[in-house]
């Protein structure tokens, strides 16, 4: 029944455990690796181990980092009066790409979902509150929290939940807007996005 010799079959199985990789893609990856030089494969294997050994979670903002606290939390150029809350580390990367946000981040590593048994305690939220005190924030008062969780029901619930906790502290809480993607043509926008964009229209 085994079509491939055992080492190949084993590696195919390992690749198949990765998200978005099925049998065919896994085979392609294995044969790609077999064609590579030994050095290339060693470097790949080393990188895999290195990422696991060196990357930890920032004790301040929960970002993935090789130094603790992370680059954003220690940078003197960041505006320490604003904190943007996101679900996952790659959401931070998406916001950073704008180059226009200069504040700090807080990463939850998930969103509320009772059906998947993800409760408030399962989010990395508790270390947000000490950050809001000036003495823990280089004597700077946090003026605004931007909630940039995903526009899904889970993301919205998480946003509401956090807003309810922070508002009593007298800090401004904002939610990122939803609507039209910039540079696109109206005819290519799906009706749900269009609907939201119309509902959230503003005067010019």
């Amino acid at each position: 029944m085994l079509e491939y010799s055992e080492p190949i079959a084993k590696l195919i199985d390992e690749f198949k455990k990765l998200p978005g990789i099925g049998q065919k893609n896994a085979q392609r990856l294995v044969f790609f690796i077999l064609r590579k030089s030994k050095e290339d494969v060693e470097s790949l294997a080393k990188s895999l181990l290195e990422v696991k050994e060196k990357i930890k979670i920032c004790s301040v903002c929960n970002n993935l980092t090789d130094i603790d606290p992370c680059f954003y939390c220690t940078s003197p150029d960041r505006d320490r009066s604003v904190i943007c809350i996101v679900e996952e580390p790659y959401n931070l990367v998406a916001i950073e790409k704008t180059r226009s946000y200069k504040g700090l981040y807080h990463i939850l590593h998930g969103a509320l979902s009772p059906i998947r048994r993800i409760k408030p305690d399962d989010l990395k939220l508790s270390n947000l509150f000490p950050r809001l005190k000036p003495e823990n924030n280089q004597m700077i008062t946090v003026k605004e929290i931007i909630i940039a969780t995903n526009p899904t029901t889970e993301g919205e619930a998480t946003a509401h939940y956090i807003a309810n906790l922070i508002k009593p502290l007298g800090i401004r809480v904002t939610r990122i807007a939803t609507g039209m993607p910039v540079g696109s043509d109206l005819e290519f926008v799906d009706e749900v996005t269009m609907d939201k964009a119309l509902a959230n229209r503003h005067e010019i």
Binding site: L112, P114, I115, T153, E154, E156, A157, H160, N164
Partner: protein, 370 residues
């Protein structure tokens, strides 16, 4: 807009090509020859769903692993399209003129409504059947509504998971309240939208009800919110918010959600009496027909054309008097497909349309077009 023909492969017991008339198509045959399969294939082509099953792979012919239904659709004199839907296991794919397209784009080409014994649930069954009737009608004229509905159901499911857990573990009330709050907040805004659209849709349906049609039976419909008598419905969201917080204790005790648009209903009366309780079986069928006709009328007002009208087993559901009135009403409007196994039906209505006789899943004979 009409369907010229369909071609099927591996669709239940059907084989080959079926050609249709712009007006009435009578699909005739003995039991088990594929009449219902034929209109199911049309329905599947038009909506990508089945009116018989939610497990679509049941439609794949025994021993095969995929099916396809393709159809020629005349959009206007100049424009003809070939559309195709394929099913492989559970995966559907859609083609328009040989090119793969996304489902929303595919669905713009054709639509269908079905009248069969199951649909009688709308007039005699649970409120859920009536809510589904409204929701499918709204989605057909306003596609973005589907997202609202899905999000609402998702929030409800999430909230129910919390309520069930709270009931089981006797969690402190305040703690449950803070956990529920973010979901209730979304439920309020989604439910307000659903309520508003359903009320508006019922008003449109109401105006389109052709009540003069079946004598002595005056049908009225009204959307009945589960919040009726519980506060000011013109300010729905604040009434719902109040109600949700008031009933939270009861919801925890029940272990599931008790307040929201998923408890609403459509009231249908015949001569001012509740149709479900007091209507005769004939009145219920007339009412259902009037509702479906109103539905396609509202559809046309919005989209500019009628959906296909499918009636399975027409003479077991309706008497000849109602049938002839119905066909008269649909004439010149919809492309209509009916199935029958009775020759007496043919005797009476053969002159009104095309007869397609099926034997063992194939076209055995067909009458010449008028």
């Amino acid at each position: 807009m009409h369907l010229v023909s369909i071609e099927v492969s591996n669709f239940r017991n059907l084989k080959g090509v079926f050609c249709f008339e712009q007006g009435l198509n009578i699909i005739f045959g003995e039991n088990g020859q594929g009449k219902t399969n034929c209109i199911e294939a049309i329905y599947f082509l038009a909506t990508t769903r089945s009116f018989r099953t939610t497990n679509l792979s049941e439609m794949i012919a025994f021993g095969e692993n995929f099916l396809s239904v393709s159809g020629k659709v005349v959009v206007s004199k100049e424009i003809q399209k070939e559309i195709e839907v394929r099913l492989e296991g559970k995966r559907k794919s859609f083609l328009v003129n040989g090119k793969k397209v996304k489902v929303n784009e595919y669905l713009e080409n054709l639509d269908a409504v079905i009248f069969n014994a199951n649909e009688l649930e709308i007039v005699r069954g649970s409120p859920e059947a009536r809510r589904n009737f409204l929701d499918s009608g709204i989605t057909a004229i306003y596609p973005a509504y589907l997202r609202t509905l899905l999000d609402y159901n998702r929030c409800l499911k999430q909230k129910n998971a919390l309520l069930e857990e709270a009931q089981k573990h006797d969690t402190a009330f305040d703690k449950v309240a803070t956990m529920i709050e973010p979901w209730n907040e979304q439920i309020v805004s989604l439910a307000s939208r659903i309520h508003k659209l359903r009320v508006r849709y019922v008003e449109r349906l109401s105006k389109a009800l052709q009540n003069q049609f079946f004598n002595n039976e005056f049908i009225k419909i009204r959307y009945v919110s589960s919040l009726e008598g519980k506060g000011d419905l013109s300010n729905y969201s604040s009434t719902l918010r109040e109600r949700l917080s008031l009933r939270l204790g009861a919801e925890i005790a029940a272990g599931h959600s008790l307040v929201g648009v998923h408890r609403d209903d459509l009231e249908i009366t015949v001569n001012d009496r509740d149709l479900k309780k007091f209507g005769s079986s004939g009145q219920q069928r007339s009412a259902l027909l009037l509702l479906l006709i109103a539905k396609i009328e509202v559809y046309r007002q919005q989209n500019g054309y009628y959906p296909l009208f499918l009636i399975d087993d027409i003479d077991s559901e309706l008497d000849y008097e109602r049938i002839s009135k119905l066909l008269e009403l649909l004439e010149g409007k919809t492309q209509t497909f009916v199935t029958t196994s009775k020759t007496s039906f043919l005797d009476k209505f053969a002159s009104k349309g095309k007869i397609i006789t099926l034997k063992r899943g194939e076209v055995f004979s067909q009458s010449l077009t008028k």
